[in-house]
Point group: C2
């Protein structure tokens, strides 16, 4: 099965979710409407809604039962992306100050707050208290992850543990929560809920590591941002941590700063790619994928399991 | 009864809440710890926790039953103040750009996000779904209120309706929610819950109008910020709306901008104070206080009612 087949099988339900996303962002405030729809219409892979749906399919699935959860999880993800962008955009773009009216940034911050609040409002339809505990805990961890990312910026001496803890908080937990909450909404038995959560966690780790590898190996066109942007912004990811094991290269990498010459950055990116850093990162990514497969294999045999398997392959095998 | 007497009667419980506020802001992240405690230790009147407690006292009150609600409501208020400050501080202070490292602002934004997430985590201990619906709805309105405040800045042609809707969203609803959620946590009968909510709403409106009057009539020392700061920032409040009914003064007021000469601003403030704008604003404030009193009078006679009465006087009669 190909991932496009999954999107096609779920197409009808995903459309309902898409319409619902648009509907709930109506606020009666034209500015807010515009800014939140702007983010919505930027699209996305809708990984979280898909995992909500697939997890729910192990229980009493109907789109009506899970759509609120799917919508809320996608909104929380969206809100976190918006806050992620707010201040980076406000101050510099490629090391130079941007001319951006402050209204825009204020509006972005509050658009994030609004979308988050809307997500919380929608998720109140889920009565199980565990769902709310999992979600709010995830949001706490997410915000700590953001703070850690700021703290760890341009910190070239951070450990791999730092990195893994950060991506867990920033990415993996919300994907895990998507699986768990989908399962809760559809009354999936608790042991299976927990397995799906674990599956989501490993899949989420693999997802983020893949993203971090793609920052080096993909093209600006596919990424929608320049290659090496993460490094330039001081986000020290797994390939960089591996590359820095070579002292000579580490010395070069530690000179990376926001206003550096871009051809110099290009040179460093090539040097990183010429080491085994990418291969080693892929290996770690595969390790997480394997862990997800181990859990997948314990799930009941059905069509949904095949779709989860496909999504996992999609997550892990995006073009490096 | 004096408001200090209320603080003194509730002292033991307020201390428990204070300790709890400090405890829940522990995150294991030193930066986050520091930034969130910074806001906590800045103090505050703790109006929301007090209203949570007093409302709960109409039901099965114990501090253990309501402390999570009181803590969560104060945290949500705190998070909203932080986001309120983030970008204003970042760009200008008294019309001049501030030199503030961007890390600080990012950290402020995420400190707000963290505190909010923590509040949500804590409030999951309340099982009644209505509590979550009221709260999340309040948060949606709060964020719309923030956006409206941005939109309405320096808009000298806005209506009084705009102003009232904005302060409802920005202030009154969260105070109303404090009353309702305190009541819910202590199993107060539903009709009484609704009365307390309404009481909180009117008290909250009076509270904000008072704040907006004090911006003109108080001193920099008492305010902790310069007199007329709201106007300088373009926040058109009730006294300004009344003052602009005089065409000649309106002409002067509409010239207010962020980088204006401060002696000129001082002159405009004096002109506003020389009109009946302050008196008219006080009258509206009293109208809201009266509405709160009408509800208060329908509540069961007890010590708590006297304390609510005192708090209402405190809210409405702060020194103009």
């Amino acid at each position: 099965m190909n991932y496009k087949r999954v999107y096609s099988i779920l197409n009808k339900d995903l459309k309902i979710i898409e319409n619902e996303l648009e509907r709930v962002l109506e606020s009666g405030s034209p500015i807010l409407q515009e800014s939140s729809l702007h983010y919505l219409q930027a699209g996305g892979k809708r990984i979280r809604p898909i995992l909500v749906i697939l997890s729910a399919k192990f229980g009493d699935y109907t789109i009506d039962t899970v759509k609120d959860v799917a919508v809320a999880l996608e909104l929380i993800h969206m809100a976190s992306l918006i806050h992620d962008d707010v201040i980076d955009d406000a101050y510099t773009r490629r090391g130079r100050p941007t001319v951006k009216a402050k209204w825009d940034n204020k509006i972005s911050m509050y658009t994030g707050d609004f979308i988050l609040a809307r997500a919380l409002e929608i998720i109140t339809s889920v009565e199980d208290i565990i769902a709310h505990q999992v979600l709010s805990h995830t949001m706490v961890e997410l915000s700590i992850g953001e703070i850690e990312q700021i703290r760890d910026k341009y910190n070239f001496n951070q450990s791999m543990t730092n990195y893994f803890r950060r991506i867990k908080r920033k990415t993996a937990l919300l994907i895990a929560a998507s699986c768990r909450l989908g399962a809760i909404a559809a009354n999936v038995p608790e042991d299976l809920q927990k397995k799906l959560y674990q599956f989501g966690y490993y899949a989420g780790m693999a997802f983020q590591i893949t993203d971090d590898i793609l920052d080096f190996t993909s093209t600006a066109e596919k990424l929608g941002k320049p290659v090496g942007e993460d490094l330039l912004q001081g986000n020290i990811t797994l390939p960089v941590l591996f590359a820095m094991k070579e002292p000579a290269l580490k010395k070069k990498i530690t000179k990376v700063h926001e206003t550096m010459d871009l051809s110099e950055l290009q040179n460093i990116i090539e040097l990183i790619k010429s080491t085994d850093a990418i291969q080693k990162s892929i290996k770690i990514c595969n390790m997480y994928l394997d862990k997800a497969y181990v859990i997948l294999n314990t799930l009941p045999e059905n069509e949904t399991k095949k779709m989860l398997d496909t999504m996992l392959k999609f997550i892990g095998k995006r073009k490096f």
